[in-house]
Amino acid sequence: MESNGMISFKIDAIAVTVEQGTTILEAAQQAGISIPTLCHHEALTPYGGCRLCIVEVARGDNRQIVSACAYAAEEGIRVKTATDRIIRLRRFIVGLLLAEAPQAKVLQELAEELGIRAPARFKPRNELCIACGRCIRACREIVGVSAIDFAKRGYEKQAAAPYFERSEDCIGCGTCYAICPTGAITLRDIAEGERFTQPDGSVVDGPARIIDNWKVNFEMKRCKECGEAFAPAFQLEYIKKKAQLADDFFDVCVNCRP
């Protein structure tokens, strides 16, 4: 490592110099080299689970295949992002995921980019949750409520609320829904006058937000000015408390603010 805390190494044919602690993925992005990702998100700590971003790293005599998102660059390493071997393995990984969730657009797009089709030998599972963990990491790291986590181990691993019951800590912010790459989370906002019957038979009256996966539903807060139901009341209470805002801070929605 150079004395100024900078690291120099090679990605494909390109020589790069980055700050210590920069991951191979970040360095590649800086250098304009594209590496596909799935479980990664720039706002979250790296997970390294999907293995789509794998690259070949040579460090001296040692050769390894690693997740680029979770590997802090080291001085003098030689990284290859798209060798025949890597492409073959990426095709393998996307192929496996496609058999899990063939209806997921992101997987279809990845398959097309890689030039593969769903493996015919495997019966599709049709389970959209591919255990990437983005919703969980977002809920923990960005929102800060940790309302959900992984349940079960191995093939059955899924994002879930504790004991698959109604999540007590969820604030209905919908970050999980926004960040899920496959659309595995079902979030619906129903309007005034609408009704929705949940799987357990209970009925929810609008305006409300219902997130099926965590078995939660929230009454929406209405703007004093325009009457728009713009966010779950519970979420706004949480934010008010956390940021120590005035009690009437969210009485008027962002559109109606002066």
Binding site: Y47, G48, G49, C50, R51, L52, I54, I65, V66, S67, A70, Y71, A72, E74, R85, R88, L89, F92, I93, L96, L97, A99, E100, R121, F122, I130, A131, D149, F150, K152, R153, G154, Y155, E156, K157
Partner: protein
């Protein structure tokens, strides 16, 4: 009493020697889990009660596993001045005979083996049991060193198991325990210790075989004052129980090894991560730690050296994957037991981000012997790259099932035939599986291979933690592959795609093949998937999961093809592919099969040839087992 000097230790040694070699009759009952599962608990109670009732001047003690698991429950009798005799397969009847003999001062018949001296490995001496003339009946009992099971063994890690009472620290001290620690703290530097371990060539006994000294050095040189020692006692390979026996039979050898390691790397705290499924280990460890703390051998200012070290037990919760070092660390931290990518390696960033040495139970068990007897002694055993000895659990289709310790370089053939006594029931050896779910099957053609890290890896397997499963011609190798893949599918943490999804899909394919739905393309797919999972999985579990599949595809392709092309299981195991029929020429019409058939699938008149109705048959094999005329054909 706090032990602050060698002199104090000598006092405890004397105490231990008095119970180790008492002047009265001593009866030792093997009370490890395998012994207890065969009824050793009841045997112990009966002997203790009998000794009391008959006012026999004897002491009855618990001991650990001496390795002759196939002969449990085992009882050793030490008459003053006489060689030690081992009695096997003890039951109430034999206990009664034993007590009778003791009352009359007669030599009890039927001893399996005779030990003339008690080996003190650390002191490189042996203390003879006999004094003066020994009765002829005793000398006629074969000596241990002549028994085929023990002849080729060399016990270093297991040196005290089966001799000392694991619940009495003084007996461990009597055998030289903690003197190594005293000497190191008084005279050696951490650098001295690391150099000695490096020179010994000791490699991690958990399976990966990384040079222990090098790991300690990397950790010592890592930045930071807060460092940790972790003992991986999460032993999870099916069929492997080396670590369990070590911790049940001689917990202090592991504890002492951890303290020495702590001193070497500059750690003040150690953790023993023990799987929850080892309750006796947890019980004995708690006792051992309490005793060590009580004497000041753990805690502050050990031997007045200024060095302090504590050990905390951390319990597992039923996850094989937590034997993987980074997942284990997460588990101790209270998080999900999921591995993470390496680098960074635990030696540089481990528990709570601090430099951590994590070693296997057996690795630690070797540390004190190496420090006392020296690196040259240790490295004189074994092969060029694999020094010392290795503990193996010799299980499966072998006559003498047990726990053995042999020098590295011993041939698989010697383990199976000389030590293990060959294959039972006159059947033929087919393969031996090493390394658990991470290992491979070595066919009978290769059993001349020596036990050595690199040699076994080259053959498509791994040394692993020491599980050695012997397989005969009635083992279906496709079923074996399916078994291990199913095990790993259950145990996968689910973090990475290749393992979470890939292993499950391999399991699906193997199920199809073993149930008659496989095709030739499946074999190509299976091999391609196995290769891809090996290359792209995140951790050791996923990376090695394909080994049982790949090794059986290499060496037993014909079995796979039989399942696929002929829809037949040559070994007669895969239920969907076997049919039971009755040979009308052999059948005597005795009706024994009708009585045992759970689904009434057998028809026939008395004394007339019977017939199995194929549609009803559930392939349980009960008729096959019971037929006295051997008329049922698989």
């Amino acid at each position: 009493m706090k032990v602050s000097s060698v002199r104090d230790l000598e006092k405890l040694k004397a105490k231990g020697m008095a119970t180790l070699c008492p002047d009265k009759i001593k009866i030792m009952v093997g009370m490890a889990t395998c012994g207890q599962s065969m009824g050793a608990g009841a045997v112990f109670d009966a002997i203790a009660a009998g000794v009391k009732k008959n006012k026999i001047n004897a002491v009855v003690k618990k001991t650990g596993c001496i390795g002759l698991c196939h002969e449990e429950p085992l009882v050793d009798v030490l008459l003053p001045g006489s060689p030690r005799l081992t009695y096997s397969r003890m039951n109430q009847e034999k206990v009664a005979a034993l007590l009778e003999g003791l009352r009359n001062g007669a030599v009890i018949k039927g001893a399996l083996g005779r030990m003339d001296e008690d080996e003190f490995l650390l002191g490189d001496t042996a203390r003879p049991y006999k004094k003066g003339k020994v009765k002829k009946e005793i000398l006629s009992v074969p000596a241990y060193k002549d028994l085929s099971f023990y002849k080729k063994q060399k016990k270093i890690a297991l040196r005290n198991c089966g001799t000392i009472d694991p619940e009495d620290i003084c007996e461990y001290i009597a055998k030289g325990g903690y003197f190594s620690l005293a000497s190191i703290l008084a005279k050696k530097s951490p650098e001295d210790v690391i150099a000695e371990v490096e020179r010994s060539g000791l490699r991690g006994r958990g399976g990966a075989g990384f040079l222990t000294g090098r790991k300690w050095r990397i950790c010592r040189e890592a930045e930071g004052d807060e460092k940790y020692i972790i003992c991986n006692a999460d032993e999870g390979d099916p069929g492997a129980y080396m670590d369990r026996s070590l911790l049940e039979g001689d917990p202090h050898t592991v504890i002492e090894g951890m303290i020495i390691a702590g001193f070497a790397i500059g750690a003040q705290q150690g953790f023993m991560y023990v799987r929850a499924e080892y309750p006796l280990v947890l019980e004995r460890l708690k006792k051992a730690l309490k005793q060590a703390e009580g004497y000041g051998l753990l805690g502050k200012n050990i031997f007045n050296s200024g060095f302090s070290f504590t050990i905390t037990i951390s319990r597992g919760a039923g996850a094989f994957v937590c034997g993987e070092e980074t997942a284990l660390i997460k588990s101790i931290e209270g998080e999900w037991g999921e591995p993470r990518q390496r680098p960074p390696f635990p030696a540089q960033s481990g528990l709570w981000g601090k430099p951590t040495v994590i070693n296997n139970v057996e690795t630690f068990a070797n540390v004190a012997p190496i420090m006392v007897r020296g690196a040259s002694w240790f490295s004189s055993l074994g092969t060029k790259q694999s020094k010392g000895t290795k503990v193996f659990s010799l299980v499966g289709k072998v006559n003498r099932i047990g726990l053995v310790e042999v020098p590295m370089g011993t041939k698989l053939k010697q383990l199976i035939y000389d030590i293990g006594g060959g294959i039972p029931n006159g059947r033929a050896l087919k393969a031996v599986q090493t390394g658990g779910p991470s290992g491979g099957c070595i066919p009978k053609e290769l059993i001349n291979l020596p036990v050595d890290y690199e040699v076994l890896a080259e053959a498509g397997s791994i040394m692993g933690s020491g599980g050695l499963i012997v397989m005969d011609d009635r083992t279906c190798m496709v079923d074996v592959a399916k078994y291990f893949v199913s095990f790993l599918a259950d145990e996968s943490c689910g973090k990475c795609t290749p393992c979470r999804v890939g292993i499950k899909r391999m399991k699906d394919l193997l199920e199809d093949i073993t149930e008659g739905r496989g095709s030739r393309e499946d074999l190509v797919l299976l091999e391609n998937m196995a290769d891809a999972i090996k290359e792209s999985a995140l951790c050791g579990l996923g990376k090695t999961a394909p080994n049982p599949v790949l090794s059986t595809l290499v060496y037993f392709k014909d079995e796979y093809l039989a399942h696929i092309k002929d829809k037949r299981c040559p070994a007669g195991v895969c239920k969907a592919l076997i049919t039971y029929t009755i040979d009308r020429k052999m059948c005597t019409g005795c009706g024994a099969c009708v009585k045992v058939c759970p689904v009434s699938a057998i028809e026939g008149e008395k004394k007339q040839p019977h017939m199995i109705v194929a549609e009803k048959c559930i392939k349980c094999g009960a008729c096959f087992e019971i037929c006295p005329a051997e008329a049922v054909v698989k």
